[in-house]
């Protein structure tokens, strides 16, 4: 029992010393410029545990040295847990009989941002090769072979 208590005391002491060291190490870390940080895709994949060992190793090495990216992962984990806990099924929007075109969705957004002048009218461009293929397939029920 005495040994266990001694080990617990040692454990507590080293925890306290280490905690302080790590707090100050983090606050003293140089911030790399933004180009040196993990991109959004990688940060997301990491927090979702979607990276394999090969991809994770350099990410973990970066996180050990980068307080900013660590902070990002912490916030994203918390955000994910918050929304998972809510567990609300996202209500499906009422569907119109015809799909709303993306051009009208984006036109609305762009006119709110840039104003409603003619210059802000959004023209959605389909690539010519997409257009050729999309028209015949628009009403297809069967999957492509």
């Amino acid at each position: 029992m005495a040994n266990t208590q001694l080990n617990n005391i040692e454990n507590t002491r080293i925890q306290a010393v280490l905690a302080r060291y790590l707090e100050l190490r983090s606050s003293g870390q140089d911030r790399a410029d933004l180009n040196g940080h993990l991109d959004e895709d990688t940060i997301n994949a990491f927090t979702e545990s979607r990276l394999d060992e090969r991809q994770s190793a350099p990410v973990v090495n970066h996180l050990v040295d980068c307080s900013f990216c660590r902070h990002r992962t912490v916030e994203l984990v918390r955000l994910t847990m918050f929304f998972d806990a809510q567990d609300e099924p996202v209500a499906a929007r009422e569907t119109a009989s015809e799909p709303v075109s993306v051009s009208s969705v984006l036109s609305g957004i762009l006119s709110r941002i840039f104003g409603s002048g003619d210059a802000a009218v959004f023209a959605h461009e389909e690539r010519p090769d997409d257009e050729e293929k999309s028209d015949p397939e628009a009403d297809e029920e069967e999957p492509r072979s």
Binding site: V17, E40, L76, V77
Partner: protein, 335 residues
Amino acid sequence: MSSNGSQLDELFAAADTEITAVYDRCCENAPNFGVRKECFIESVRRTVEKYVLPASELPLTSQQVVDFVSQLQSDDLFMAIGCARGSERAWWEFDQQHRAYMERVARHLAKTDVDAQEVIDQVYVELYGTKVVDGERQSKFATYSGRGSLRGWLRTVIWHSIVDLHRAGHDEVSLDELTENVGEGAAQAGFAESPVGGEDAMIDHLTRERYRKATLTAIGNAFSSLEPHEKLLLLYYHAHGMKLREIAALVQDESSPLRGWFQRKSAAREKDPSTRIHESTVMRWLEKSYARVLELFRQELVSVHGLKPEEVEICMDLALQDLAGGSIYQNLSAT
């Protein structure tokens, strides 16, 4: 052609059956997105070239490429490619599936509903892409690789947009400080100097300085000797105040490499690799790291600094005393 290029050609040729199967499945689920197989392969190849190939010096095998492709969030990636290429159907589906969720995230993070709406609008504009380079519209969807979920990626994008919105309203504030105002943040550390005065006090001060330097070096080296995943766990817990349940959530997925590294030597894992990670599991991982740090700390003080066991205890006591004053950690630099 570079050696990487020809290597990738071979690997993708070998993985063609798997890639085709994944592509066909995506087409079956979303036949009207207008995504051609070449575009799908190009996207996957770009991801392998950018993230997978350079991640290790070990050569990439065709099995690894096959495994990588099979683990992609392929339906999400298919939608993202469709949107990036301007498919109206893909955009409609995207809007239907994700807009409400994006709005919830933005409202949760932003200070006001107006800010939330501004962020959503901005994100949509970036996703569509208003910049054209060499005739190609630069859609933010092109930066989504399919490794993580599209919804998770959108969450990340919105979080960053909120940070940018806050930055726009603050001058001369560091990004670190700003991000700490978004959600929960870690407290800032303070420093204090020990007062020095009189001859006896000077000698005492010099002795204490010797112990302090030894302690700081030893704790720094002990930490540096840990494996990267152990360091990261300790940093998350102590430097960022992450709770045990939050860390458990991060490593809950069976495929998490962090979990795998910690469980590598665990008998429990051999018995049942899919066992749930509890807070107590994370605490055990932390305790193993503490024990390792303590062992390395003591070893260095004795073998490198030549201290006696009672002096090692003095170093520990000094370090604990200085937690209030902080002088032992003065001039600490990142390692």
